[in-house]
Amino acid sequence: MKEDNNELNRRDVLKGLATVPVLGAFWGVAQTKKNKDSAVKEQIFKELNIEAAKPPVSGSMEGNPLRIGIIGFGIRGEQLLRAAGFATKEWKEEMKKNNLENPKDLRLKEFLEQEKLNIKLNGVCDVFDVRAESAIEAGSVDGNKPKRYLHFEEMMASPDIDAVIIATPDHWHAPMAMAAAKAGKHVYVEKCMTHKVGETYDLKKTIEDTKIVFQLGHQHRQTQSFLTAQDIIKKNVLGHVSLIQVATNRNDDNGAWQYEIHEKASPKTIDWQQFLGNAPKREFDAQRFFRWRKWWDYGTGLSGDLLTHDYDRINTILKMGIPDSVMASGGVYTHIDGREVPDVFQVVMEFPNYTSGTSQEKGKEKGMTFLYTSTLGNQYDRGTLVMGHDATLELGAQLTVMADPRSTRYKEMIESGLIKTDVPMYSYNPSAKGVDAVSGATAKYFANKGMMYTYRDGKRVDSTFLHIKEWLSCIRHGGTPSCNIQQGFEEAMSAHMATASLRLGKKITWDHEKQRMANVSEAELRSVGMA
């Protein structure tokens, strides 16, 4: 009987443990799979050797607060001031409401948690009373109330301002930036850097002579994925890059600059003469004041407004400079509302001598076309593509690299099945653990391009904040901001070549030695208000 029990127990124990070996089998198979996957990954990573670059280090913000003045508190001015740490009550309330409706919308929380930059808003200049008052309200923090300057020149003469942020219509950028530099004030100016060709040279010289700290408002220079993309080019992962494709795709009134006209707008509340500045004199027109981007007298069209962003994004990575030639065409096809600037606009820039390296035999490494296409009548996201012989880089807030099936460099890895050409061989997503809420079509458009947010240590950060911080850091500690006057010169000149091509109806060429448009006369530029 006892023996029987033992017999039974042994059998029961064996049965009890019967499934344990399955764990061993599981572990063996799972490890094999993991090793195989990571071996493939490691081999590709070793071949590509891409390093996700560390963001530039900016200095401490300690010390006496820097005293800032803002000129222009429209849509962009408000965003810039917020990135600098000053938000209007109205915005904060709206964001609070948005968060209640959509818990993913964390813009208010992010703003409140944003690092303080140790600046005082000491001056406000806006020719529209409502906006000036709104800026004063936003900047009234810790007992410091900004002073309103009715004319920007009064602000330039003031000893209470160390640096200015300029977010006016384009035709005021250069005159104000030059006046500020001459007054010894540091400058952050929005794109397009200049409105006309002549002032582009003047501004460059002024900034170089006065040695003030100058930053052009291309905030994507701070985008983490773009820093990584620089390494991709440096390591020649793509091979000979022959074509760049960038695009603007928008399909709403806001995206087409059909902004709201404020109910309080009138010649009494707007200093119309000051708004006009160097533009042709004309009677008060609220449309032109609020929707100035639609007219050549004040704006630079898709060329200066959005092509510049794409051009500078690529110039950040490829450093290709001003093109040898530019052709542009377009028309007003989607918003027939009296505007002058085209809403469908295509630009082809040629860089016949540009090279980013090659994997092929000598003689196959030169020449590249930069193709910008845009419509304000469709918002299908066409992405940004940097197309090389060995691989294609798709660039945005994230980036992916796809090997080209006919690549020379990856031929063996493709043949052995190590690299598959239908899945990315490298992808970089700095927000892998983050959740984003980007509201509105225009916001999405910018976010997809890495223009709104970037990531530091997996945390979402407003890239404009980082761009302003870099500028302030250079003011405090010396150094040159990433979007300096040379980058600005290249940006503005390339955009002006595109505009001139459209408006003069011809291909514009660039003389690299003389640093000027080779086939355009002063008189031609004057005829289209671009001299």
């Binding site: 049965k15 009890g16 399955v22 764990l23 599981f26 818990p103 959740v435």
Partner: protein, 157 residues
């Protein structure tokens, strides 16, 4: 011959079902554990249906997500281990049912819902999460771990 009230075929087919589900849970957990970048937030953001708001607000809360991710990964691993070796199978089964029902409620295959994440099959109302949950309920009602599994040693104490 009956073992624990089951015929041999009944017993071993139930054990095989338990092992399969355990294997699946364990691998789902291990894969997530091995991937530093994995988070459930993407899945939760893609939620549809009655509970979508709740799942979305979970995803929006970074510190909560850390806890959710950890609980999910270790929940899957421990449930998988428990089912395979047959240890504490009852609580493991009900834990598994809760997880599966959560996944189901976050991505219910109802008419009119489309999800960003593609699925490998075609589902209407019933999907594999729900079937796996139902299979677990069967395993709870037809226990095997007190015969084939470590639970039998608990029983003897």
């Amino acid at each position: 011959m009956k073992i624990g009230g089951y015929s041999k075929g009944q017993l071993w087919s139930l054990v095989v079902l338990r092992l399969f589900i355990g294997w699946h849970f364990l691998y789902e957990g291990i894969v997530k554990l091995w991937n530093d970048n994995w988070s459930a937030s993407g899945y939760l953001v893609d939620s549809k249906g009655l509970f979508a708001k709740m799942f979305e607000s979970m995803a929006a809360n970074a510190s909560l997500m850390k806890v959710v991710d950890m609980m999910n990964v270790w929940g899957l691993i421990l449930i998988g281990l428990a089912l395979i070796v047959g240890f504490l199978v009852k609580p493991a089964i009900w834990g598994g049912v809760v997880l599966l029902v959560f996944y189901y409620l976050s991505h219910p295959p109802m008419i009119g819902y489309t999800f960003a994440m593609p699925s490998e099959g075609s589902y209407l109302i019933i999907n594999k999460n729900l079937i796996e949950a139902a299979a677990l309920v069967v395993l709870a009602l037809f226990p095997t771990s007190n015969v084939v599994g470590l639970d039998q040693f608990l029983k003897r104490k």
